[in-house]
Amino acid sequence: MYLLAAEENNPLIPHPAEMVVGGFAFLLVLFFVGRLLVPRIQKTLQERTEAIEGGLKKAADAQEEAQQALKEYREQLAEARHEAARMRDEAREQGAQIKVELREEAQAEARRLVEAAHVQIEADRQQAFAQLRTEIGRLSTDLAARIVGESLEDEARQRRTVDRFLEELESSNTQAVR
């Protein structure tokens, strides 16, 4: 009896009843947990992954778009700067040209004025010369008449005569200039 009990209780020999109960219990778990519930959480985890990946992708797209816009703005800015530089250069060129033109015009005007002045001066000179010539002729005949007409004994008189002549000449000259 005791021996039989010891044999039955050998802890390394599995009891069929235990195996049936254990197997049944585990199959229950396997059915409810493995078959029904694990697929649900797998689906949810998959959806979560997709949601996160979707979010990340959206963020990446937005980033890309922003980069694109930035690039466009930079290009536009560079173009505008280039345009401005070009216009500045053009304006400078035009300014320089205008300056040259103005200078040429001014020089031409100055030349014209100078020429006109020369012409005027020449005309005045000619006129003065003609006037002077007639005057000198008249004076010379006057002087000659006086010299010839009066005696020239006295040196003092002679000098007075010459002085008077010169005075008259001077006064007449100033009159003529006036």
Partner: protein
């Protein structure tokens, strides 16, 4: 073992294998003892917990679902992934069920008033190991062919010819039988040993502090209580570790059956 002679002797007697014998709970139903009841309760607990966590899973987890996902992701990353890699998801139903079921069965060893690790009865680990063995044989034959499966195991390529005389029988016995037997025995033995040793120190504490309190015996009793507490903490770790190892080995066996090893 009965309680009467122990009390009568009034002498310390270490608990033995009698700890693992349970009478039927109901007259006439010999199979329905405490371990059997606990096995059913364990199955129920696992199902209820996982149902609470995953019955209506949310994209943004709340409450129990967080804990369930923690367990699920631990199983997937630490048990399935190392061996099965991309096939992990396909085998998660089995591995997750197995890990939780074995763990709860073990955990009963440290639950007050329950205090019996069901896996310390060889029948329970044995039936799981046999199930795994059947699955592995089926998968191996299906994926590698009836001859290829044995050939890949017994004649791993890249060895000098004569050594196969030794390798082939060792691999045959080891891969197809021994490792599946030790699969069950490892779990059974650690649970049984852990339960025995905690029972021993509890008995020391009980005997020297309550049954027979003496000035000399009291420190021994106190030591017994302290050791019981420490070993219970250690046992909690071992219970989880063994559940992990059991599921991990299952994953390894499945992987070996799906693809030729090496």
């Amino acid at each position: 073992m009965s309680a009467a002679p122990l009390l009568a002797a009034d002498e310390f007697q270490a608990p033995g294998l009698g700890l693992f014998d349970w009478p039927p709970l109901v007259e006439g139903a010999a199979w329905f003892n405490k371990p059997a009841l606990l096995a059913l309760v364990a199955a129920l607990l696992v199902i209820v917990f996982v149902y609470a966590a995953f019955s209506r899973p949310k994209l943004v987890p709340r409450g129990v679902q967080n804990i369930g996902e923690l367990a699920y992701e631990f199983t997937r990353e630490q048990i399935a992934r190392p061996f099965l890699g991309k096939d992990s998801d396909r085998w998660m139903p089995l591995l997750f069920s197995m890990f939780l079921f074995v763990w709860i069965m073990n955990l009963f060893g440290s639950i007050i008033f329950v205090q019996f690790p069901v896996m310390s009865r060889i029948g329970y680990p044995a039936v799981l190991a046999i199930g795994v063995w059947v699955l592995v044989m089926y998968l191996g034959i299906k994926h590698q062919g009836p001859i290829g499966f044995f050939k890949n195991v017994m004649f791993p390529p890249g060895l000098p010819g004569w050594i196969y005389v030794m390798v082939a029988p060792i691999e045959l016995v080891s891969t197809f039988f021994l490792r599946h037997i030790t699969h069950a025995i490892r779990l059974f033995a650690t649970m049984m040993a852990g339960h025995l040793i905690i029972a021993l120190f509890s008995e020391v504490g009980w005997h020297f502090l309550f049954v027979q309190l003496t000035p000399l015996g009291a420190p021994v009793g106190v030591l017994g209580v302290i050791m019981t507490i420490l070993l219970t903490a250690f046992e909690l770790f071992i219970q989880a570790l063994q559940a992990y190892v059991f599921a991990l080995l299952t994953a390894m066996f499945i992987n070996d059956a799906l693809r030729p090893a090496h």
